[in-house]
């Protein structure tokens, strides 16, 4: 296959667990840059979309590609067989569950008037999936590649620190937090450090207190 194009079979891609749903990390796998694109997969009764609102101002379109889903949009429930398109503006609470095994959603989202610049959360979901499957080397490699592409983005070393802390690797976690500290506004970072349960494994380490000082 040439480098100029790629084919994905959404039912076969390894999903990443994310907030009780199974993410098909389409944007991450393709390296797509023009908008946020992703997929969700679930069997009958399973959660497709983690319940949330888009406080970012994103417009989002959900497309049922395979199977059947029930969407809950605000207070309203909607039946959505394959071929259904569901548009949800920012600020509306949304979730969906699968009604059939192997149900697949395709999602496109972006912010009006802005060039797409997202793609942090899904990269992290992929890395976290590797961690949960016991593949810490792959988890690190995903974050390292992201940091090489976006060296200015402090959230990336910060998220790597979360992964290392969750895996019980204190030294690696502090090395990553040190990198985050060099890039991040001090107050913002400290606010995250105080409230983030992902870091509980390293919270009692004296090095943690130094970061808050």
């Amino acid at each position: 296959m040439s480098a100029g194009y790629e084919i994905l079979t959404l039912g076969e891609v390894e999903t990443s667990p994310h907030l009780g749903s199974n993410l098909i990390p389409i944007r991450y796998l393709l390296g797509y840059r023009a908008a946020g694109v992703n997929g969700w997969r679930a069997d009958a009764g399973g959660q497709l979309i983690p319940p949330h609102e888009e406080d970012s101002g994103n417009e989002e379109l959900y497309v049922v590609v395979v199977g059947r889903a029930t969407f809950t949009l605000g207070e309203e429930q909607r039946d959505a067989p394959a071929g259904t398109l569901v548009f949800v503006p920012a600020g509306v609470h949304r979730t969906a569950v699968a009604e059939e095994d192997g149900t697949i959603l395709f999602v496109v989202g972006a912010t009006v008037g802005e060039a797409f610049d997202g793609g942090g959360w899904d990269t992290f979901a992929v890395a976290d999936g590797h961690r949960l499957a016991g593949r810490m080397d792959e988890s690190r490699a995903v974050m390292q590649r992201a940091m090489e592409e976006r060296p200015e983005m402090w959230a990336l070393p910060y998220n790597l620190a979360c992964l290392e802390a969750l895996a019980g690797n204190a030294d690696e976690a502090f090395a990553a937090l040190e990198r985050a500290r060099e890039l991040a506004p001090a107050e913002e970072l400290q606010e995250y450090l105080r409230g983030d349960s992902d870091l509980d494994n390293i919270r009692d380490d004296p090095r943690f207190a130094e970061l808050l000082a």
Binding site: E59, G83, F106, A110, G113
Partner: protein, 208 residues
């Protein structure tokens, strides 16, 4: 804007000249943040026109139903429901024909690093079935409205000139054709071959 749910079969059907049917998704919902549309096969069995992305867009095509044969960069790939084709490189030629009558393909695209703007063709394509059916006055009116939305668009100017030539308004046709060519030289070549301009080709003002 509010929540809106629609099935792909309920979207407008706009049959285009190559024999495929455009199902306007972005326009239906009034989406302004990204480009998205669906296509179903028409008379010719084609479902995605043969094209390149001259404006530098990357595109994803998702098969929503049926089976489809894509041709991309000269390679053929058969895709079914739940498979997608991502074309990263805008200059690669791509297109698709339906292998089953029920085929439906969703396409989404945009230019990396740029905020999405509605493509000129979205304003222009609704006029094409009218032109094909000989409803030139209605097509002309639609293209005039398109030009108001996208002032100076060479593609819209060119197609407006076609409609004007077909309704017998040579002055408007020649003026708009000239403006189209000033915007993009490629339309000088198109105009030479285009039978829509038969009524004005002998006019001394016709661009050579």
């Amino acid at each position: 804007m509010s929540v809106d749910v629609v099935h792909v079969d309920e979207l407008d059907r706009i049959e285009l000249q190559d024999g495929f049917v455009w199902r306007p998704v972005r326009r239906h919902f009034g989406i302004r943040a990204f480009g998205v549309n669906a296509y179903t096969p028409g008379a010719s069995g084609r479902v995605i026109e043969e094209h390149t992305e001259r404006l530098g867009q990357e595109e994803i095509y998702v098969v929503l139903r049926g089976r489809v044969r894509f041709t991309v960069d000269g390679d053929e790939h058969e895709l079914g429901q739940g498979q997608l084709l991502y074309v990263r490189e805008p200059s690669l030629g791509r297109g698709a024909v339906a292998l089953t009558d029920d085929a439906a393909v969703l396409a989404t695209g945009g230019t990396p690093g740029e905020a999405f703007e509605i493509s000129n063709w979205e304003f222009m394509f609704p006029a094409f079935p009218l032109l094909a059916q000989g409803r030139y006055d209605e097509a002309k009116q639609m293209l005039e409205e398109a030009l108001e939305q996208r002032p100076g668009s060479p593609q819209i100017l060119y197609n407006l000139a076609c409609a004007e030539a077909l309704v017998g308004e040579p002055d408007g046709a020649l003026e708009h054709l000239k403006a189209a060519i000033e915007g993009d030289e490629i339309f000088r070549e198109h105009a030479r071959e285009d039978s829509d301009f038969a009524s004005i080709r002998d006019d001394p003002r016709f661009p050579r």
